[in-house]
Symmetry: C2
Subunit: 403 residues, 2 copies
Amino acid sequence: MAKKLSWTEARDILTEQAAPVGTERKPLRDACGRILAAPVTAVENVPPFDRSPYDGYALRSADTQGELPVTLNILEEIPAGSVPTAALTPGTAAKILTGAPVPEGADCCIKFEETEFGPETVTVPVRLSPGENLVRAGEDMRIGDLLADAGRRVDAGAAGAIASQGIAEVEVYRVPRVGVISIGSELIEPGEPMRPGCIVNSSRYALQAALEAEGLSVSFYPIPRDDTDAIAALVDAALTENDAVITTGGVSVGDYDLTKAAYEQAGVRILCGDLALKPGGKSWYGIRNGRLIFGLSGNPASAMTNFYAVVLPCLRKLRGDPGGRLPEMYAALAESFGKSGKQTRLLRGRLILGESGPVFAAADKQGNSAIHTLAGANALAEIPAGTGPLEAGAKVKIYYFGE
Amino acid sequence: MAKKLSWTEARDILTEQAAPVGTERKPLRDACGRILAAPVTAVENVPPFDRSPYDGYALRSADTQGELPVTLNILEEIPAGSVPTAALTPGTAAKILTGAPVPEGADCCIKFEETEFGPETVTVPVRLSPGENLVRAGEDMRIGDLLADAGRRVDAGAAGAIASQGIAEVEVYRVPRVGVISIGSELIEPGEPMRPGCIVNSSRYALQAALEAEGLSVSFYPIPRDDTDAIAALVDAALTENDAVITTGGVSVGDYDLTKAAYEQAGVRILCGDLALKPGGKSWYGIRNGRLIFGLSGNPASAMTNFYAVVLPCLRKLRGDPGGRLPEMYAALAESFGKSGKQTRLLRGRLILGESGPVFAAADKQGNSAIHTLAGANALAEIPAGTGPLEAGAKVKIYYFGE
């Protein structure tokens, strides 16, 4: 038997094949949370003019170099949104509001609470330097500066930066469509009466929550008969209608494990599968016309472990993330881990960013079907083949998939 | 002058007033990503019956205690989704597929690849113990076990756990509605022609991205005249139509800084404001009929710093998060920080979970208006009053607000 692939080898083979979906032009207000398909650069200086950071007075610093305090005549008042009408001459100032452009001739400002003022004059008690209390044109951003690069999410900072430039539309990746097929005649839906030997199709809901949290568009297909033809027909339809497809169930080696045969019948080229991983090693992956299909275990927790480890990096790349790979780091195990084994394990659990450093709290039960232990999980911890048992506090490698 | 409040004091005063919005019953498929308003407990054992974790044979361990290998007669085949029809007697076994219930009398299973088998018999070469390769009823979950507590997000794990119990509906908090009012006659929208003295309303887009990323429903109001009556009318409408309101602009002390007066005119009771914080200290917070209103600076980066530090914890509590507070931790500064000051600073930047431990990369520019430096930011770092300059590698306290 050939050596099984590691999960990272499979992930790398598959992310290599994952190419971002197409792009579309969107108004900025419809693009929040999406990923930029092209870099956005500054088209204006920010601020566009020298402006006052305070409510106060704009003046000439030269007028404060002699005897102090010095009293200046107020030429005009410049609210934010207005334009100065007169240049300052020696001995004059302009009343100015936060954000307003300073008049020609002014090279500094002073807060109004640091002055004495009347309707006609302002008295300045301190020496000021050129540029003091003044925001220079282009100080925050110059024309051509990169606002946000391709592959960057339109988050609060990017949205604000793009808007501040008056840019009303951006090129973003469209939302990838993911089809989900649950295979297994034993599956029923929540709310249907329980029958002996039946199991509720929980993977479907776990996948829905995980896929929606990633901002993906998800379509669910009806549960097919345990029959190669029926599964192949559904796989064919799902690969036609979506950018990627996930199936659960039917990946083991027994009589009813039909996924691989159905994939091949639907014209899928198998890329890899059956990983040296516990749980979630049972899996098949393929591609048809550039569209990936991921065949995960019928055991919900196995399926979700494999989903986060292998599938999610591919889907993130589809969505426009440049690399797709989950952020990696080290954390201390919150509790000891008693098992050792011949296969690499991925533990599900919660990375906690505590005051004494990052800690990984593994879920209580790590069985294949213990889906409920994934609640609150945000990371996988890797226990490499041949290591373990591990003491509490032992450093483990963490793959963070998010809240 | 009274001592200014710290940002944490203001946050605590305000989160104290923030009560979760009402709840609603939702089908599970519409509840993914929402927050549970009531605990969900198990109504069935998982698995509901003793079942096989593998494709193979169910048998009586007693039959493997004598001379090996032992050959057993196959009584029947039990696919997943089926019910056994015959109890095992000594010297018999049942062919069984992954997930199928074991027949009465069977107390262990063996993978089919570890046996030799024909259509009628299976030969077992190893001694097996009671319970070996068997998933016991209730092993993963027992009736009454907590599946997911109130205040817990319906994430992949929770959704899977709830579905696995056949529970088709859950009680969740409804999505809070947040109204946003941008104050400032100098503001124009992206795409409108730039006019001298005008500034694009970038805070609106930064807030949209931040609020939508939190799963909140956001309404934007037209920009009012710089006039107490006009602002008060809008504040009144927004507080009537939303669970919380954010205004930006008009919080300084000058002539056109009308927010506080407009709040009071609209019947808002001011709770606190004007914090010892840089940037983002200029602010007013109030409440009317239990609904909070947050008056942030007109400077976009000041507004967003204050938003993450003070407003977001309140909104998270409104949404159903029990505490609301941002996760706190320590991280090493990626670069030195050159400034010191009399006021507590919050630096915007990116918490990076690197292999050598958590690192905080402060954004390049920390000016009040440098909104673009927030792109990619996921955390605030606190530089307490009177500290700094700080070397690269210095530990700072981090408040993590997420991707």
